[in-house]
Amino acid sequence: MRIEEHPILDFKRGKKIKFTFNGQEAEGYEGETIAAALHAAGVKVLGKSLFLHRPRGFYCAIGNCSSCLMVVDGVPNVKTCVTDLQEGMEVETQVGKGVII
């Protein structure tokens, strides 16, 4: 769900980037965050809560609320709303606290 035409803004998207989400191939653009790329691909559930395993999406999108934490390239608790997408990234839904490697 990307905005193609906008009355005020002109979106100059960077080059296409391939990454994986839970093992599935996905695409985004250079210069956007992991959460933005996932949202554009229709993914809203980024993780599961600590105890009740309720679905978690982002909330503040400025790196403040920690609702968007995911496992990225094996590293848990990455704030995906402020972390730029990179070629070949392996992004996974985080369940609970995550395991520190």
């Binding site: 933005a36 554009a40 809203k44 809560s49 978690r56 982002f58």
Partner: protein, 361 residues
């Protein structure tokens, strides 16, 4: 350990203006910003700003960042900017510790500091308020105006303050349907020109309404809204259902005050300023000597006021550490007057009643 005359924490409207006025006074300035880009929340404000010419009225927020950065460029030799850098500690001995990217940790001891950390969005309590698809209104603004991604197809906006009204309008500009705007208050809190603008596009504004419950399995699918009485108690039988895939929560911001509190500044909870804010003097210096604050961190207001506060705090901080321009008094009085002009209306009265409680002479 690194050294600088002045460290400005936060590269949003207040921080950039503080850096400009301090550098123009002759101080060496280091601006530390946790984001990769400067401008803070200006980068998603596609609407024209209010205020007067001096606060860039009628200019879109997205363009004000460039204006400020161009101004800052004039002082290239004196200003260092570190983005992707988070201040993680401020200590009694004046040492500031910061983390650049993921791995470069450094210490700096400036002569003075301006803390312009801004604010963040509040949440609202109701059953299932943690469902994905329920986002802060500012978050949705970032998603669509910075990254060009639609938050969904149908949005319910909660909160008829300026942010709620402006983001509703911007959603429509992005081609997203806004089914309604609701607010528990009996009156619209934002500027009525914004309300009229969105109303004549056919979006109903439901005052005295609140969210009873959100429903959905993995994401929000439906929101049940109901009326509230004058004591904000929910009225049984007044429920309305909205089938939406996004709900925006715009129930105000609260100052990001952690660094101020950590540094030992005396803090006070002031509802009119939307949270716990530092006690300060009229120069925006806190109770800790040479630690200044500006912008939303000192109380949530419009960005126009944040910019003027930044200019004022920047010039006062640099004067305090020995860089006092010849026209100091004149410039200071100009900033003070601009702030009093911005706050002299009915909306400003509320802010002023809060400021009265934190300013020590």
């Amino acid at each position: 350990m690194r050294e600088a005359d002045l460290v400005v924490v936060g590269g949003g409207p207040a921080g950039l203006c503080a850096a400009i006025s301090a550098a123009s006074s002759g101080a060496n300035v280091l601006v530390i910003e946790r984001n990769k880009k400067l401008g803070g929340q200006l980068v998603k404000q596609t609407h024209m700003f209010f205020g007067s010419e001096k606060q860039y009225a009628s200019t879109r927020g997205i363009d004000i960042t460039d204006i400020l950065l161009n101004e800052l460029k004039k002082y290239n030799n004196q200003v260092e900017i570190m983005t992707d850098t988070t201040v993680v500690g401020m200590f009694e001995d004046g040492v500031i510790t910061a983390l650049h990217k993921e791995d470069k940790y450094f210490k700096i001891k400036p002569k003075a500091t301006v803390i312009a950390t801004g604010a963040f969005e509040k949440s609202l309590a109701f059953p299932n308020n943690d469902l994905p698809g329920i986002y802060g209104a500012g978050a949705v603004q970032t998603l669509m105006n910075v990254y060009g991604v639609k938050p969904g197809d149908k949005v319910l906006m909660v909160g008829a303050g300026n942010i709620g009204l402006i983001v509703s309008y911007q959603l429509m500009q992005a081609g997203v349907e806004v089914v309604a705007i609701l607010d528990a208050a009996s009156k619209i809190g934002g500027y009525l020109v914004h309300a009229s603008k969105i109303r004549r596009m056919g979006v109903p504004i439901l005052t005295s309404h609140t969210v009873k419950e959100a429903i959905g399995k993995d994401c929000v699918e439906k929101v049940i809204v109901c009326k509230v009485d004058d004591k904000f108690k929910q009225i049984e039988g007044s429920e309305i259902e909205f089938d939406v895939d996004v709900m925006c929560v715009s129930v105000g911001l609260t100052p990001l005050n952690e660094l101020l509190a950590m540094r030992g500044c005396e803090m006070k909870y002031i509802p009119q300023l939307s949270g716990s804010v530092p006690v300060r003097d009229e120069n925006y210096e806190t109770t800790v000597e040479n630690v200044f604050a500006a912008g939303d961190a000192t109380g949530v207001e419009e960005a126009s006021a944040a910019m003027v506060e930044g200019y004022l705090a920047g010039i006062c901080a640099s004067a305090k550490i020995g860089y006092k321009p010849d026209n100091f008094e004149e410039r200071k009085q100009d900033y003070v007057k601009q702030l009093s002009d911005l706050r002299s209306g009915p909306v400003g009265q509320h802010i002023l009643s809060g400021i009265e409680q934190i300013v020590v002479k």
